[in-house]
Point group: C2
């Protein structure tokens, strides 16, 4: 890589189902110069997250979809190589939505400075970044955990699920994690301190869930959808809350199965059990940013919240890593070290 | 009818689909005497409501289901014929869940005195009773109408829907009602003052809904479920609220249709639009009872809220009237004058 070259991945074609590598095209451009009020940074870490799959569809969402040729959206941590803003100096570490590229240019108000003395800077994309903020915001505003309640979270070893469960433990909840594979379950139980961890690939999963939740479920944190949601539904207690954070089960489904309409059962449960199902995006909880960083930062420093990163080396491996993530191949917060 | 006979309807068998008259059995017993702290009242009005259908199934719900031989559940307004409670005198009018019988016995704390000088006592089962309280509570706590927003309510000429729409109008919302039939639509528009009223039986209903909601839908009050919900879903705005109050479309369905799974589309809407879907029962808002009676009572007195009753004469007609109600045959709050 020449110092004057900026490599980036753009959307070459729209994926159908699980993305393949030819969905992404590696391009070379020149490193941009900052305009007034902007910075340019060299990417240190690129965050890979399930939401990226949704951006690749040509469908309305909370932001406009990517267009063909657009740089793929992504959170980045970088070191500033040029700045035209008084508050940010060359050498500073910043976090922002730089996208899948080796150098990114953002206006100063589109990024925040990261203090490398608090924790490794990669955490600005994980436990102390968007996934942590997502967990903190959704729990605070929707989940509302109370001591003695039971919380269930799927993708429990992932970037968001791991933090959701640990915060709920701090609030005094019984916490049951769901993950794909025994190694992830062992981690969730032994390292993160969940009360139970269940492997949804186990044929006995439904029975295990019932056993692990003897007092029913008060909060189901929805990261996945699909069969796990169906298994959880009968165990929800009256007044249960369901923060809807993600639906990774459905992201790559190309053929919707034909089934007896599940809507009457779902809506009857909503009515009779007085459930709250509420979707959210981390941006909805921007007002909690300062509180989140302070509170979760303290918990991380004190060892009350642990985190695990799945760091893949090499910028050029971003497509294969995302494809792996979308199949549950990650173990912890997935990052590319550029 | 002899003065010493109490006629009552009990559950003779569990209905399959739409109830038939042989689901109900008319029995004669003697009029009970009140124990200490109780009253006995002669039923003046019996309330017929869609929720009654759910009680007839042998399925867990927010209260135990009716057992065979049980008196059918129902709200009643009656005149006290015997009292062993200091706060309630013979001749007083009371409202409570007396059930489908000509005389009912309740403890004094299971009923409330109705002031016949405020409004006709039948309203204690309608606009100033459970349906009004349902509308007021669900809007206050879940719908949270703001001036300029658009609210859509189905079963708009019914006991709850009519009040929901009128309260939302008072809050400055654009209000669109959905009803079955042109006569009901004309009433909703011309008498209740909704901004628009749509007949869901009209082949152009979907287009009419889009036209009637040029700024989308911020609150969808769910009384019915089924195809109306499906038609509403694409028009919901970001952060829309869906108080789930009833699902009359599904109450009598015996064969669940096989369809392409609608769950991914529904949950994706919840996530991307950050919808809130929340079920409730009027009892959840017991703490609003005083406020409801004061506020809605004032609106009724001032003519800001209108109501319509569909009163059927004769206690023995309760079964046929309920069957009619479950098919949308009522026009306004359905009552039996005993």
């Amino acid at each position: 890589m020449s110092a004057s070259i900026n490599r980036r991945f753009v959307l070459a074609k729209r994926p159908v189902g699980l993305p393949t590598e030819d969905v992404f095209r590696l391009e070379e451009t020149t490193i941009p110069d900052p305009a007034d009020g902007e910075i340019v940074a060299r990417t240190l870490y690129l965050s890979l997250d399930p939401y990226m799959r949704g951006r690749m569809n040509d469908a309305p969402s909370y932001v406009p979809p990517l267009q063909l040729g657009d740089v793929i959206t992504g959170g980045t941590v970088g070191q500033v190589v040029a700045s035209r803003h008084d508050g940010i100096a060359e050498g500073d570490i910043v976090e922002g939505y730089g996208g899948w590229q080796e150098f990114f240019r953002l206006s100063a108000d589109e990024c925040r400075k990261v203090d490398p003395t608090i924790a490794p800077v990669s955490t600005a994309l994980g436990v102390l970044g968007m996934p942590g903020h997502t967990a903190y915001g959704g729990l605070t505003e929707i989940g509302k955990p109370k001591a003695g309640e039971t919380l269930v979270v799927a993708a429990a070893s992932g970037a968001v699920g791991a933090i959701v469960g640990q915060i709920a433990k701090i609030h005094g909840c019984r916490v049951v994690g769901i993950a794909g594979g025994e190694d992830k379950c062992a981690y969730v139980r032994d390292e993160l301190g969940f009360d139970a961890a269940l492997n949804y690939r186990d044929g006995e999963f439904a029975n295990q869930l019932a056993e692990a939740c003897p007092n029913g479920i008060d909060i189901y944190w929805e990261n996945v959808g699909g069969p796990i949601f169906d298994t959880v539904l009968p165990h929800l207690n009256n007044f249960a809350r369901i923060p809807v954070c993600g639906l990774i089960h459905w992201y790559n489904v190309t053929e919707i199965p034909t089934v007896p309409d599940p809507t009457p059962k779902l809506m009857r449960s909503v009515l009779v059990k007085r459930l709250t199902i509420r979707g959210f995006i981390v941006f909805d909880f921007a007002h909690l940013q300062t509180e989140f960083l302070k509170e979760v930062g303290t918990w991380v420093r004190d060892g009350k919240i642990r985190y695990r990163e799945d760091i893949r080396d090499g910028f050029e491996n971003a497509p294969s890593a995302l494809i792996d993530l979308l199949q549950g191949g990650n173990f912890g917060k997935m990052l590319i070290k550029a």
